[in-house]
């Protein structure tokens, strides 16, 4: 445990040296805040830039607060996922490439604690940034639209966060058998797109797919009741994460010993 804490601390120090603790939350804030602002000022923006003919009337219904929250989560699930993959694609791969991993693993450090300490640090960074971004956007939603009960806000936060954690775990899994960060990023993005595509095409048959969690979150926000399949999707996501972590530890061990 002590050894694990040392590795974990090393990760945190490295993240603050890379300014990750500053720029990732800021990017999440900006991503999230953009959405309520553009939705709120859409009529003015069209007025100012649209160049509409005189007398043209466009009625844009004011979106409800939950629709805005869905749009914000949509930002997290596209650009946010991209940021998560970009920040974690080099987390093991770059260290192996530069030889740092070899230096660490020469010492009696278990592969499991090496991988899990990295995973925990990356998860911490992701959840903190995601939380800060979502809270900032919640503030804007309350100011510009209407008050959203905190419990709804928090439940949607947790539900969508599980999918983001799944994405992060998968990126780390791909890290374990590839040395180039660029390739890792590419494969992760491809798998995420494929997963989302497949589960939206066959959503009737794979209701437990973790990539349906964002869809369930929006249904929850719109209808204010938790869909039936959420529990199975959450359980599958958590089991999937554990399996991915175990697999990445064993693959990493084999690759590193070879």
């Amino acid at each position: 445990m002590n050894q694990w804490m040392v590795l974990f601390n090393k990760e945190l120090v490295e993240m603050s040296r890379n300014f990750k603790w500053i720029w990732v939350p800021i990017v999440f804030i900006l991503l999230a805040v953009k959405e309520p602002l553009t939705l709120h000022y859409m009529p003015q923006i069209i007025d100012a830039l649209g160049g509409l003919p005189e007398g043209a009337v466009i009625e844009i219904p004011v979106p409800s607060a939950s629709e805005v929250l869905i749009a914000i989560l949509g930002q997290f699930n596209t650009l946010g996922v991209l940021i998560i993959v970009l920040t974690s694609m080099g987390i093991i791969a770059a260290e192996r490439k530069s030889g740092v991993a070899a230096i660490i693993l020469v010492k009696p450090v278990s592969y499991a604690s090496f991988v899990t300490s990295k995973w925990t640090a990356a998860m911490l960074l992701m959840w903190v940034s995601y939380f800060i971004g979502y809270v900032a956007s919640w503030y804007y939603v309350v100011i510009l639209f209407e008050a959203v009960p905190f419990i709804d806000f928090f439940q949607s936060f947790l539900l969508n966060g599980i999918w983001l954690s799944f994405v992060l775990t998968m990126t780390i899994f791909i890290n374990s058998f590839n040395k180039s960060p660029g390739v890792v990023g590419f494969i992760s993005i491809a798998i995420i797109i494929l997963l989302s595509l497949l589960s939206s095409l066959f959503s009737r048959w794979i209701e437990w797919s973790p990539s349906l969690l964002p869809t369930y979150t929006s249904t929850f926000l719109l209808n204010n009741e938790i869909p039936d399949n959420v529990l199975s999707a959450v359980i599958v996501a958590i089991i999937g994460m554990i399996i991915l972590l175990i697999c990445s530890i064993s693959i990493f061990r084999r690759k590193e010993l070879a």
């Binding site: 890379n18 300014f19 990750k20 804030i29 900006l30 770059a94 100011i143």
Partner: protein, 70 residues
């Protein structure tokens, strides 16, 4: 000019200012780091231009790609 007079500045400023401040923080941190770092991935002056002139995406690109020292 008519466009600007139509905008209710008093209502917008408390909404816009936090965003501008956050963007500025990101930009300043990127610039400070660029000054202190020994070697970037690519020419330094190019990164300075990217950070300063490519809004929001520039500093992110710098942190993701530019800081990777081989």
């Amino acid at each position: 000019m008519e466009l600007f007079n139509n905008i209710d500045w008093a209502a917008i400023i408390p909404i816009i200012v936090p965003i501008i401040v956050i963007q500025l923080i990101l930009l300043i941190i990127a610039i400070i780091d660029l000054c202190r770092i020994e070697k970037t991935n690519g020419p330094k002056w190019l990164w300075a231009i990217i950070i300063l002139f490519v809004n929001l995406v520039g500093p992110i690109l710098y942190f993701v790609i530019g800081r990777r020292n081989q």
